[in-house]
């Protein structure tokens, strides 16, 4: 019965990915600070808009007080989100839906992150070259935005994007895509993985082919092997988001709004958690940070 009294806050992800483990830690931290709330995380089963809509409906039916959601297919979910916003405090995180009546967005600016990656690519290839991008699916917003950012940054340079290969989030396929690229383009200069597992698979493929250093790698996110690759010098750099902050700030922010405090929210509602570039210079310190977060 007591559980019914407590207000419930829920964090809804878009796909099942590692990334969200960090957010979970953030939520756990918030939970410790606010034991009078009941905090949950829902890792979706399917990663489809339909599944997410069902989850949101069910949460509204359950009468939860606040929801922070990484929106699947944000451009088209407005109506559903508005329905949710009418019943609960609604934040978006990681993937925004600016047209909706969400109160705030806490997350990355993926186009900016893409631009950052573009800068890193330029740094790695001062004389230009051919590059290949790898991602799970291109119909995900963050994939499109990152590609867009990279293209913007590379505009006018001598770097040529050959193609974007997709793998449906199948790691084996991701790795064989990387291997096939090495086979097809012996002169490839750089490969970039846009989703967290892509970069480590590229790293493995490049390393197995004995092409470390010859083929540069720039990636996204903080997979352990990505970081190891950076320490080894096989991976140039990676752009990391701060999902821990997504989780933590979402919960704290929801509580603030529930208590009537909206003063901290900017006009467009966007609270951008900046992305960071991890390269050889700061990787050691970052690894320690990640380890303490994950293994506690």
């Amino acid at each position: 019965a007591e559980a019914q009294q407590k207000k419930t806050l829920v964090f809804v992800t878009n796909v099942a990915a590692d990334f969200w483990t960090f957010a979970r830690r953030g939520i756990e931290k918030a939970q410790k600070e606010h034991p009078d709330y009941n905090m949950e995380m829902i890792v979706t089963t399917e990663g489809t808009a339909a599944a997410q809509r069902r989850e949101l409906d069910d949460l509204v039916a359950r009468g939860v007080a606040g929801i922070s959601v990484s929106v699947d297919d944000a451009a088209h979910a407005t109506e559903e989100l508005n329905k949710v916003a009418a019943k609960a405090v609604l934040f978006t995180t990681d993937s925004d839906a600016p047209q909706s009546k969400r109160v705030a967005y806490i997350g990355t600016d993926n186009v900016a992150a893409g631009r950052q990656a573009g800068q890193e690519i330029l740094k790695a290839l001062p004389n230009g070259g051919k590059i290949m991008l790898f991602v799970g699916t291109m119909d995900a917003d963050n994939a499109r935005e990152r590609v867009q950012g990279i293209r913007e940054a590379l505009k006018g340079s001598k770097v040529e994007i050959l193609d974007v290969r997709t793998d449906q989030a199948d790691f084996t396929k991701a790795k064989s895509n990387a291997e096939d690229t090495l086979a097809k383009y012996p002169d490839i200069s750089l490969m970039s993985g846009l989703w967290s597992y892509d970069t480590p698979e590229i790293y493995d493929a490049v390393k197995n082919a004995g092409k470390c250093g010859k083929v540069k790698i720039v990636g996204f996110d903080e997979d352990a092997r990505t970081l190891r690759g950076i320490s080894e010098g096989c991976v140039q750099s990676t752009i990391v988001q701060q999902p821990f902050e997504f989780g933590y700030q979402s919960m704290i922010g929801l509580i603030k709004v529930i208590n009537g405090d909206r003063s901290w929210i900017p006009a467009d509602g966007k609270i951008i958690v900046p992305t960071r570039v991890i390269d050889k210079s700061n990787v050691a310190e970052f690894v320690t940070y990640v380890k303490t977060l994950l293994h506690k």
Partner: protein, 336 residues
């Protein structure tokens, strides 16, 4: 009817337990949300049921959703086609895909599993290629508002999808259980050769099931599109054929063909939806969603089978011997 009764009881028990733990399960909002989902999933599960009754299977449904879905949205938004036309085009599309599969199965004598598996691969590939992997949706405008109201609206709070399913179930129930076509379907599903010897054009009967499944998949596409308002070609409808198969099998369809009822399929769909709902309502970790579903299906089918075996044993006292042995053998025995 015994099978349906058992399923109904299972549904009641599961619901009662859930409601006991969290009474919100029975709240109006939740019930109507579920009704809506049952409506959408029920439509294509009925189609799947028809193909299963012929002794076949349709694995292509989920990919059909993706292909028809992106085309449908494009017709409305990109090409500004009037909604009745777009609707017709999509339904025609579903029927044509169904007919194509039917042709390969009945004329070229390919196995349904293979044909529809290739359909699964090809349709989704086509959808992804056509959209160059970008999703399609109704974003800014309010396209096809009339159709949207029809597909996603409600009457006195009851979702139209649910009303549609009820009507469809009645119509399909009459078709399957009372009409000549239905009878032939059962006959063909059980013993195709004998059906041909009885002058039944079994090819036509089987083809009908696949065409119907395609048509109902098309209608479901429209319902699903208006539910999510967008279609991402790589994930839209992924795996939904498994829901449909599970619903049909739970509802008493046998993959060996010749068995199943509309009521059973609808109840099966309802059970699957309740199971998914309760995971969220009870706050069970969502990672266990599929596991809960798998466990309940397993236990459900198992209990039903044991009960039936016992019933048969009891009936056998009346003097039948081979009765018990034969089906047990046939269980995993040869076909046709």
């Amino acid at each position: 009817m015994r099978k349906e009764l058992g399923l109904f009881l299972l549904l009641i028990v599961v619901s009662a337990i859930t409601a006991a733990i969290n009474p919100l399960f029975l709240s109006g909002v939740n019930l109507l949300d579920m009704a809506n989902l049952i409506g959408m999933f029920g439509v294509f599960s009925i189609g799947e049921g028809f193909t299963i009754i012929t002794g076949g299977i349709d694995l292509s449904i989920g990919s059909m959703f993706a292909l028809l879905g992106v085309v449908f949205v494009d017709l409305l938004t990109e090409y500004q086609v009037a909604w009745p036309l777009a609707l017709l085009a999509i339904i025609a599309g579903g029927l044509v895909l169904g007919a194509l599969q039917a042709f390969l199965i009945t004329r070229l004598k390919m196995q349904p599993f293979i044909v529809t598996l290739c359909g699964l691969l090809i349709y989704r590939g086509a959808a992804r290629y056509y959209t160059t992997d970008s999703s399609r949706g109704f974003g800014y405008g309010d396209e096809a508002d009339t159709l949207r109201t029809l597909a996603a609206g409600h009457v006195y709070g009851v979702p139209n999808t649910f009303i549609f399913l009820v009507v469809l179930a009645v119509v399909m129930g009459v078709l399957l259980h009372r009409s000549v076509y239905g009878r032939y379907l059962y006959a063909v599903g059980k013993n195709e050769e004998a059906a041909r010897f009885s002058g039944i054009r079994s090819n036509l009967v089987i083809a009908g099931a696949y065409v119907l499944s395609g048509g109902l998949a098309a209608i479901s596409t429209v319902l699903l599109v208006f539910y999510t308002n967008s279609v991402s070609p790589s994930s839209f409808g992924n795996f939904y054929e498994l829901y449909a198969i599970a619903a049909a099998v739970l509802g008493g369809c046998s993959l060996r063909g010749g068995e199943g009822s509309i009521l059973g399929i609808v109840l099966g769909t309802a059970l699957l939806q309740v199971l998914q709902n309760l995971v969220n309502i009870l706050g069970i970790p969502s990672s266990l969603n599929f596991a809960v579903m798998g466990t309940v299906i397993l236990l459900g089918v198992l209990t039903d089978q044991q009960l039936q075996a016992r019933r048969k044993l009891a009936a056998a006292t009346a003097g039948s011997a081979r009765a018990a042995a034969a089906p047990a053998l046939a269980q995993r025995g040869q076909q046709t």
